[in-house]
Amino acid sequence: MFQRLPEDARAPLSFLLDGEPVQGRAGDSVAAALLALGRDACRETAVSGAPRGGYCMMGVCFDCLVTIDGVGNRQACLVPLRDGMEVETQHGRREPGR
């Protein structure tokens, strides 16, 4: 997991992770908020089902894909966290309609 340095004084934000209420901070990307919660893995791959988490944090590796507010395959490292956001981890192949 990743830990915030003590000098970080940004405001907390509440969001849902797989239906559970959790907190991040203003200025987090969704991927950063998950790492701070100890969620190093955020999906399972479509090919083998192996667990994955973000590797590059700059939008190139596509390993941090999550479902955000009902839309699947969003790059968590590029999406700023917002209050009340609904984030879901992804399991295997993309589900139809998402």
């Binding site: 915030r4 340095l5 200025g27 893995a41 988490g53 590797y55 390993d63 839309v71 590029l78």
Partner: protein, 475 residues
Amino acid sequence: MNLPELRDTYDVVVVGAGPAGMSAATAAAAQGASVLLVDEGVGPGGQIYRAVTTTPLTDRAVLGVDYWKGEEVAQAFAASGAAYLSGATVWHLDGERHLGFSVGGEARLVQAGQVVLATGALERPFPIAGWTLPGVLSVGAAQTLLKAQGMTATGRVVIAGCGPLLWLLASQYVAAGKPPALILDTTPAANWRRALSHLPSFLLTPYARKGMKLMARVRRAVRIVSGVTELAIEGETHAERITYRRGNAAPMTVPVDHVLLHQGVTPNLNLPAAAGCELEWNEPQACFQPRTDAWGQTTQPGIWLAGDGAGIAGAEAAASRGTLAGLAAACALGRIDAAARDRLATPVQAQLALQSRGRAFLDRLYRPADAFRRAADTALACRCEEVTGRQLREVADSLKVPGPNQMKTFLRCGMGPCQGRLCGLTVTETIAAARGVGPEEVGYYRLRTPVKPLTVAELATLHSTEDERRAVERG
């Protein structure tokens, strides 16, 4: 700015808000050009100056003085009058200089008189066994989390690989009071021999003194194992152990919570290559780069490339290269004549010459070992489609596959969402080794629009004319 304020045409469209992009936009706007800068990030800075206007880190010593130089570049850009669209993902550029991009699920096309691509660099793939396990991140990723969110990896943190960025992150972790447990240095000992003749010119640069100070600070605080020739990360659902080997010595295994990998950066090729810019192989840097002249002109008229995307030279050189490309674009538009362009460029070119000194030494010293540039047998070369190094070699040998585009059809490597960004160089170099030829002969993936995934719903938000709608309507 927001999407509704966007115009259909601009004199210059710049892609990327790192030092090169911001400087190009500033220079072109100063000559009266209408400039739009589009960038995927939340704020200006690119990767090197990531979050320079918003970082929660107030202690400037943690990120260091070089990081804070980005403030000046960002301030000049903010005052330039150039329009700035953040959170915009560019998925299309063609030879007629139409740019397609999306913001928050809405797509737009704009027409540019001139285009400056400042799309920067990516970290070179590091295809060792276990590099896809949760808990393993790139050094650049850890640095992004430090700059933008003030976060550090916890537990037993092992940093492995080579290159200046590895030492910079280690020193930033030390300055933040979070030194890593271990550094596994993979710099090949033989590199020193090739680098030595470039050492005198490197020693004349400010980088030499800064680099030695930085490495000394890390050495005082962190255990370092050098000469590492083999690496593998193991674990069930998370990185649990790393096994390393130095030459013929017995392998050693240590427990880990996080592994941070890095072996240099290489130009981000997808957008210029999809726009039809020719690529060339850079042997000292072991990577492809778009072919450019001293102004950044690519082989596509009106498309310029500035910064590390045109060959790795670092942040300060990137800002100078951005200014030169911005002046050249303004000249191509007729905003200034060639004499004015040259006069304005002269001091920048002199500065760039100084900033470029020492690069030959760094390129040669930190060139990653062959074994780490080609995928290990059990390592995933292609993370998206989960293709191993062994599969690549077997297909290359048995089917005599000439290059990466044929390899795709057999193994699907490079066909996942990252579009080859994390496997392109690995696949090229693995095939080249199997064939016994150079990477330039094997070539790179053929890259096409859209260079990032684009949904049909996004595409459908593009404005269409009455004629266009009528042309596809039934009845």
